[in-house]
Point group: C2
Chain length 447, copies 2
């Protein structure tokens, strides 16, 4: 039986930041991690010769101040997401080129998107970030899906398609899955819908040199010997003892940082209150398959293309040039299967899925895209210690019924993780905020 002031469950960003703050405050800490590595939903992959891409979260945006501060503090650098050149937009079998943020679609659709987005942003600002259920129209907004709102707020089929795609891209869930109130909360939490979906000025603006997992690797290295214990999935929290495979730790406080749906799978003694348990039942993970194809060089750039594409057709609906920082070799196309596309194709065998993804790349960037020199993918729903991505979302009715259990400590147990953040909920930035907040709670409560 090991002993520590605080046990942190999960060595993702939230857990590692919490451990750092707790150690700085003089507390002894054990971080118990189920996987054989740190980083959680951050995962670097070496394409060969040190060309690093990420299979998980990768971007930071200019208003993600906590993430940027951590990048700086850990001696890391950022570089801009490649955006030079023309972007592509595919709909109904046609591929068109455009520059800037807005595809060349009909003015009626553009006007429709603009009016709906203005309404969305206005409603979002009325959602209190620490208590979405207290929004003035909380019950009405939580009583409907994002799909219901989109189908009413947009007048054109084109605008509806774009909004649906926006939801898929941000939540890796379909507009049918997500509560309107959650859409609004999350939008407010990010500072607006443009901030969520945008590259320049938005959440996809910058990448981290060496890959985002470096944040976790460097944080873990600084915690010192014996603080982080990998391959130690926590099975049970019984009184003041946290039981993981191969190790049990007696402690004064616990910070659980894993996604709520997985937090519900731990065996608690005494059992969690019904409300908290039901929260874990109502926050399902989105679903994403992140797919990358590597080529000798980013050949699309020679064609004047940025590598960014938006496709209503799918199954790959969002594409980026994800060429690693350096000399541009290899060139990498990144495609996301999101929401129901991920659930559908995630069930296929890997070969068929690869063919479907490369078909999509070829429609957009030409036949050369069909023959990469390397290919890598991650089906996040298959990962036992994540079970989806990008994060857990609230379906209708959840915020207004069980939402208040999201951060409320239960005895000595505190809750962190990107889903529990008020600012940039669901992002690295939110994960950092949540870890700091939970550590502060513990420091205050266990003097």
């Amino acid at each position: 039986m090991d002993q520590a002031d605080v046990v942190v469950v999960g060595a993702g960003l939230a857990g590692l930041v919490a451990a750092r703050d707790l150690l700085a405050a003089g507390r002894s800490v054990r971080v118990l991690e189920a996987r054989d590595r740190v980083g959680g939903r951050l995962l670097n992959h070496d394409l060969g010769a040190g060309a690093i891409v990420e299979l998980g979260g990768q971007w930071v945006g200019p208003t993600q101040l906590q993430a940027l501060e951590l990048v700086r503090e850990l001696g890391l650098a950022t570089h801009p997401t490649h955006a030079d050149g023309q972007h592509l937009f595919e709909r109904g079998g046609r591929v068109t080129r455009y520059r800037g943020a807005i595809p060349r679609i009909s003015p009626a659709v553009l006007a429709d998107v603009a009016q709906a987005q203005a309404r969305l942003d206005r409603m979002a600002r009325r959602v209190p970030l620490d208590a979405p259920w207290r929004a003035p129209a909380a019950r009405a907004w939580d009583g409907q899906t994002a799909e219901t709102w989109i189908s009413r707020a947009c007048l054109t089929a084109g605008a509806k398609d774009l909004f649906r795609l926006g939801v898929e891209a941000v939540w890796a869930a379909d507009a049918a899955d997500v509560s309107l109130l959650h859409l609004l909360f999350y939008t407010h939490s990010a500072g607006g819908f443009d901030a969520l979906i945008g590259t320049e000025g938005g959440a996809q603006q910058d990448r981290i040199v060496g890959g985002s997992q470096e944040l976790a690797l460097r944080l873990a290295a600084r915690l010192g010997e014996g603080v982080v214990r990998c391959s130690a999935p926590v099975r049970r929290i019984a009184g003041d003892v946290v039981e993981a495979d191969g190790i049990s730790v007696r402690c004064d406080a616990v910070i659980v940082t894993i996604p709520p749906t997985l937090a519900g799978r731990i065996d608690y003694d005494p059992p969690l209150p019904g409300l908290r348990d039901q929260l874990t039942q109502r926050m399902a993970q989105g679903s994403v398959v992140k797919c990358m194809a590597a080529y000798d060089e980013p050949f699309w750039r020679e064609d004047g293309l940025s590598g960014q594409a938006t496709s209503i057709t799918g199954p790959v609906k969002v594409v980026f040039d994800n060429t690693p920082f350096g000399d541009g070799r290899p060139g990498v196309l990144l495609g996301f299967l999101e929401g129901n596309q991920a659930r559908e194709l995630g069930d296929w065998d890997a070969g068929a899925r690869r063919t479907a993804v490369l078909d999509g790349f070829a429609r957009l960037f030409g036949e050369r895209a069909r023959n990469p020199i390397g290919y890598v993918e991650k089906v996040w729903a298959d990962e036992p210690w994540t079970r989806g991505c990008y994060g857990c979302f609230m379906g209708p009715g959840a915020w207004t019924s069980v939402g208040r259990a999201l951060r409320a400590p239960v005895g000595r147990i505190h809750w962190a993780g990107a889903e529990t953040a008020t600012v940039w909920s669901g992002y690295m930035d939110g994960a950092i905020q949540s870890g700091r907040r939970a550590a502060a709670e513990v420091i205050e409560n266990c003097p």
Copy 2:
């Protein structure tokens, strides 16, 4: 290490029926049950002197043929739910009396309820019971909440309130929580909305003499020595070994009968496919607190009242005379806190909750209701081995994205439980169907 042809996880109706069928087909069976008793969501309670009431499921209806057959087969009898006298309807501070199925509300509201219900039943018949996602309008219906449909389909506030209350009474969830497609599937599965909400002719028509848990107790007794192992929560299914507290069993096949949300908490090796895991994330439990107050006698009968009441006011919205079979002593009033009322009051301390419930009874039946000789309640969301009731529901988007994983076997693992039924899904009848279906699957696949 024990050994058996088949391990059944959970000794509720589904599991016990499956075990019975498997034994009859010559298979050896172990039923592993987490609780120290059989019955799952069926639970008798002795009010004293053998006056039995149920803290869980209790009713059977005339079209629940599998349940009625099991009642007969086990030598049990039914008696009608007490319905003689006038029912009460409370709305906006007023209590009115009525007879038959329909409260004395304005003809406009009645007409509105009738037209909406006719539409609902018509839509419901178009949902294939074995594949709701194949309904002609599946995506549109699954893209909205029951609340969205109610607010559009009903023209009067009165009809909206009644439909919302109907959803709460049937699913123990709010109309905001439930997918319209799920509402329609469930309605079709029961044979119509009247069958779901009705007493005479409907799902609440009859009770079982001695209490519904007798079904489970008698089934278990007939399985023979050593088949059912209680206090053995299954933690892990690794290859052909099922590991529970205190016992591991090697087997050819497993039937998991526990609610999907709890099935997701078992540790599977190899891990479940992403789609199946995500199904368990998308089927949350409803929430109900079942409350019963006992009195020397059913005094309301003397006032010409049936004991049945419907209250829009709440928090107790549905009340029944639940006097046990026998000489009418004690008289019992049964009140349900459902959906958000259960989530809200389930978080209160028991004394405050009791006061709120008895306040409601007193408004309906007079001051005498405030002073029972006995009081008993069950907060089902607090139960670690159920975590809600009456069952797991589908929020929007779930049926059309992950629904196809509901019954699909994964290797040697088969799925049963009331939620997996096609007919009377969510009811005892459905649990029995599911147990028989899963047993037949195993018998066919493991000759």
